[in-house]
Symmetry: C2
Subunit: 291 residues, 2 copies
């Protein structure tokens, strides 16, 4: 299942925004911008910014309004991939079908390109054309989602749990941080920017929570059933590294059913606030994608 | 010359603030907070936060007011040291007399501890008890100072210029980014937080600019004349790595005179706004310190 047409338009808008706001490949000091752009424009699905933009349109706002948030979150997602791929971390040679940053630019530039994307992502929010209180709140939410209580914390848990057997609960908690925190930030961001109040925020956050878990279960399933070619990253890595995954705990069929149930819940929850079914379509895409 | 008494009080206030705001060594997920604290409390001079606090008192504000800024800037300074020390970068085994982060915790945790300190530093500003417009401006200034047009850009220049002969101008430009940008942020931060207006801001910025360059020249001199024991990091590294430094371009004596002249200019510029001579004392400390 490819990304539905409307969402490819969103992804294109985000790409253009990022391209306009980042100095060119050859801007000094070389090669830092080339390295940032190399990973940023490596053909990612842009799922995170698409969630931000779709959220706004489902709340009768403009998708364009969310571009600074979408750009910031994609820069931070990209930084995390560059650092995760480093030899000292996952030691991956390929990402999105291309050599990873440290393979293309060397480790030192890969570390700095990651650092620079994290910094630039937050700078983008600090400069966005929102009320300062909204900008501050977004930065607070995004740093919390990306930090030691969110993404980085999940990454640490993932490392210290290597070769350990985890319960379903422990795996849920790990992924609620590692991939879930940023996805929840994305779905929460539209009601925050549009000022829709705490009740709507709560519903969008809960939708993000369900979608995030279904996303991770699907990622684990794809690692088993898909190919390196389709994924653009090494398939079968989880089993080789004896990682605790949903298929290893629940089996493939039960993993699929669990992801399906989560997505059904997410759709039911969001449907009163999803007049054009964009968020329903995105939820379905998350579990039906093939890469 | 040790840090003057008043400034050791500032440093102590910053340490207490950092200690209060960071989870403990054993907080989950281990060992991330232990690694962050290990580098953060490794006995740094706290020069950057001290500049923020002293700036406020010289403008008849409270030193306490600047604690979130001082804490943020020290976290970001510490992140940059952790990443700079990595094997792929400067490959240093000692920092402030202790094993570097990657020696103590392994490379993966060192990368993540750096990422986490950068993220936490900016989160601290987003949560500070200032008007949201002030918080946003501080985050914009600090991300610009820490990013590709500031510290990271200087780091990249430093790498690509290895084994090259630089002119005095090129060396000035490199260090204006690598160490200067963050130091300028520090001296600028007090008039920003206290709302003293663009003219005072400009003077404090210029003071930071002169002080920053004198700081770097002194660092280069200390690398030649001091010992590994006193510095807490490997002495004599610059010459061994054939780095362009002020002593290598100007000679030791002319380097000392240049630093002295810069500090005289800084003191003259700031004296109308420095009723207690704190900023003068700090400027003198910067060139007279022995580590």
């Amino acid at each position: 299942m490819p990304l539905p047409e409307r969402f490819r338009e969103y992804a294109e808008m985000v790409d253009q925004y990022l391209d306009r706001h980042l100095p060119g490949d050859n801007a000094p000091p070389e090669p830092i911008y080339r390295a940032m752009r190399y990973s940023l424009f490596a053909g990612g699905k842009r799922l995170r910014p698409v969630l931000c933009l779709a959220g706004a349109e489902s709340l009768y706002g403009q998708a364009e309004t969310m571009l600074p948030v979408g750009a910031a979150v994609e820069m931070i997602h990209t930084y995390s991939l560059i650092h995760d791929d480093l030899p000292a971390m996952d030691n991956d040679d390929f990402r999105r079908g291309k050599p990873t940053s440290h393979k293309a630019f060397g480790e030192a530039i890969a570390v700095l390109a990651g650092d620079a994307l994290l910094t630039a992502g937050l700078e983008t929010l600090s400069r966005a054309d929102y009320d300062p209180a909204v900008r501050c709140r977004l930065i607070r939410l995004l740093t919390a989602a990306a930090g030691t209580e969110g993404m980085i914390g999940g990454q640490v848990l993932d490392m210290v749990n290597e070769n350990k057997t985890l319960t379903r609960d422990q795996l849920d908690q790990l992924h609620a941080k590692k991939t879930g925190a940023i996805l929840r930030f994305c779905t929460l961001s539209a009601p925050v920017v549009l000022g829709r109040g705490p009740e709507i925020e709560q519903i969008f956050l809960q939708y993000g929570s369900l979608l995030g878990l279904a996303f991770q279960i699907t990622d684990d399933i794809l690692d088993v059933v898909s190919t390196t070619e389709k994924l653009g990253k090494t398939a079968g890595k989880d089993e080789k590294e004896k990682k605790a995954t949903y298929p290893s705990i629940l089996g493939l069929e039960e993993s699929r059913r669990t992801a399906g149930r989560l997505i059904d819940q997410a759709c039911a929850l969001i449907s009163p606030h999803d007049p054009r079914s964009y968020l329903r379509d995105l939820a379905l895409y998350v579990v039906e994608r093939d890469h």
